[in-house]
């Protein structure tokens, strides 16, 4: 109850600050990135952290979501909610199509397949004139409001945390712990791996829709491997298998990126440094697999 009140208060406070203009454009942009990054990190963490399957193509699913939502709202004149649903469904479908054949196999096939997927989707988008080819789509209406961002972030996090705490979540974690043992326990490991992967992809698609309808323009380049890598850094930094860690790391990386906006090269060097330092001094990430307990998230 207390958490709900705190969240509501936070929402209203920010809304108020936006309305009266205390939060200027610059802060709003960063706030938006922060929310989108949280959704991306929490959903990738479900795949990489909790299920233990290495996915390197999160930006690809984001692209699928971004483009399908924009096709819905800009080209077909549908309301935003339809665009969001289309984003979630198409990204989930893409996840299903990639997940089913690769997750049957043990090993690193998923990493290879998702890496390939991320690149292929970009090339495909570049070659479809209907959606602008390499130039992308410009002039997307700004439908992503603070309400959408806030609700989207909370709902994504809640859904994933509840999934993890359900009996499905137990099965998912047991696969990461020891795939053979969980098979021996009678867990259909492929099914649960696909489930986690599809849910993760779905929320990446959702994040893509929110992104497209805030930043006015989307290009295939926006969703390159570098974006996937960004999200991966957040997950590793936060601690594989800690949702709290993913959220904290997403916030931290967003702030860092904003601070270093004028020095993009420095940012990549810093990323590499942070990763090396984390690997040496805290290989389990900031949070390990621990969580701050927030009852509303239980």
């Amino acid at each position: 109850m207390l958490e709900l009140a705190a969240l509501t208060a936070f929402f209203m406070l920010v809304q108020y600050m936006i309305t009266v203009g205390i939060l200027n454009q610059y802060y709003q942009i960063n706030l938006t990135s922060m929310c989108i990054n949280i959704i991306l990190a929490v959903s990738l963490n479900l795949i990489n952290g909790f299920t233990g399957q290495l996915s390197l193509g999160h930006a690809g699913f984001m692209a699928v979501g971004a483009y399908s939502s924009v096709v819905m709202t800009q080209m077909l004149g549908q309301p935003f909610i339809i665009g969001i649903l289309a984003a979630c469904l198409s990204a989930a479908l893409a996840g299903f199509v990639i997940g089913v054949p690769t997750l049957r196999l043990r090993g690193d096939y998923l990493a290879i397949a998702t890496l390939g997927f991320g690149e292929i989707i970009r090339v495909v988008l570049q070659n479809i004139d209907y959606i602008g080819g390499p130039a992308g789509i410009v002039g997307i209406s700004k439908l992503t409001t603070w309400t959408w961002l806030f609700a989207g972030t909370v709902v994504s996090t809640l859904v994933i945390v509840n999934l993890i705490n359900s009996s499905y979540g137990r099965a998912i974690i047991s696969i990461r712990e020891d795939e053979i043992a969980s098979e021996v326990m009678g867990i259909n490991t492929t099914r649960y791996k696909v489930l986690a992967f599809v849910v993760g992809a779905l929320f990446a698609g959702f994040a893509g829709a929110l992104y497209a309808h805030y930043f006015y323009i989307i290009k295939p380049e926006t969703f390159s491997f570098l974006k996937s890598f960004d999200v991966l850094v957040m997950v590793v930094l936060g601690g594989l298998g800690s949702t709290t860690g993913a959220v904290i790391a997403a916030v931290f990386i967003t702030v860092l990126t904003a601070a270093l906006q004028t020095f993009p090269a420095v940012r990549m060097i810093l990323y590499a440094l942070i990763l090396i330092i984390v690997m040496i001094y805290r290989p389990q990430g900031l949070m390990g697999n621990r969580e701050f307990s927030l009852k509303i998230f239980g």
């Binding site: 137990r170 020891d178 043992a181 098979e183 326990m185 259909n188």
Partner: protein, 234 residues
């Protein structure tokens, strides 16, 4: 109860099991012994449905399970204590035991079985909130056995439960196996410790490079010159 008939299993080009046949009667302890790499683990994995035989058949309680999914096989009453224990190390003892009962929906009975496991292994009860990865080797083996029992198996497959344990603990584990069996669970026991295994088993099979080379009652094999020479150090 279990009838493995002429199964052939391959890993790529490696012919791991060659026309292997094993019969297990209800209520018995059957042991499968053999040197490293003979194919014992492969046999258990094939029975559990984790590996598919290229030919041959497996029937359990008169039902053909040769192509049945692993989770269905567990639900039918075959569970396994895998080689090397394989406990879920980041989960607590209690959570590990709950995983063993993952497919069961009868909450009350699951709780009763949990109590039974705790009665059998008081040390697990004391440590039920402890992370499984921090248990000693012997405790982890007990947990692996407890976890397999939580599936309410009629047939329990055990893959080298004495591996890496001190002699006193080995003795304890074998007593536990006998006790589980006396309470009605049929057991297929894979062991390197041939002497101990033969001393508690009813029937035994000896494997070499994917084939059964000897079989009989445990007593017969214990007195067989070949077994004495190759496995009992005599």
């Amino acid at each position: 109860m279990l009838e493995v008939k002429d199964i052939d299993v391959y890993y790529g080009a490696i012919h791991a099991l060659k026309k292997l046949s094993i019969t297990i009667e209800k209520g018995k302890i059957v042991t499968l012994i053999g040197a490293n790499g003979a194919g014992k683990t492969t046999t258990l994995k094939t029975i559990s449905g984790l590996i598919r035989p290229r030919s041959g058949s497996i029937t359990f309680k008169n039902v053909d399970i040769t192509r049945t999914a692993p989770e269905k096989i567990v639900a039918m009453g075959i569970s396994q204590v895998p080689e090397g224990r394989r406990v879920f190390s980041a989960m607590t003892v209690l959570e590990n035991l709950e995983m063993g009962a993952y497919l069961r929906r009868d909450k009350k009975e699951v709780e009763m079985d949990m109590e039974k496991v705790f009665t059998r292994f008081p040390r697990l009860k004391e440590r039920r909130k402890q992370l499984a990865g921090t248990l000693s080797g012997g405790e982890q083996q007990m947990l692996a056995i407890g976890r397999a029992l939580m599936a309410q198996p009629e047939l329990l497959l055990m893959d080298e439960p004495s591996m890496g344990l001190a002699p006193l603990l080995v003795k304890e584990i074998f007593e536990i196996i006998q006790d589980i069996n006396s309470q009605g669970t049929t057991i297929l026991l894979v062991e390197q410790n041939a002497h101990m295994a033969l001393s508690i088993a009813d029937n035994a099979y000896v494997m070499e490079t994917g084939e059964i080379v000897l079989q009989g009652t445990a007593k017969e094999l214990m007195n067989s010159e070949e077994v004495k020479r190759a496995y009992l150090g005599g």
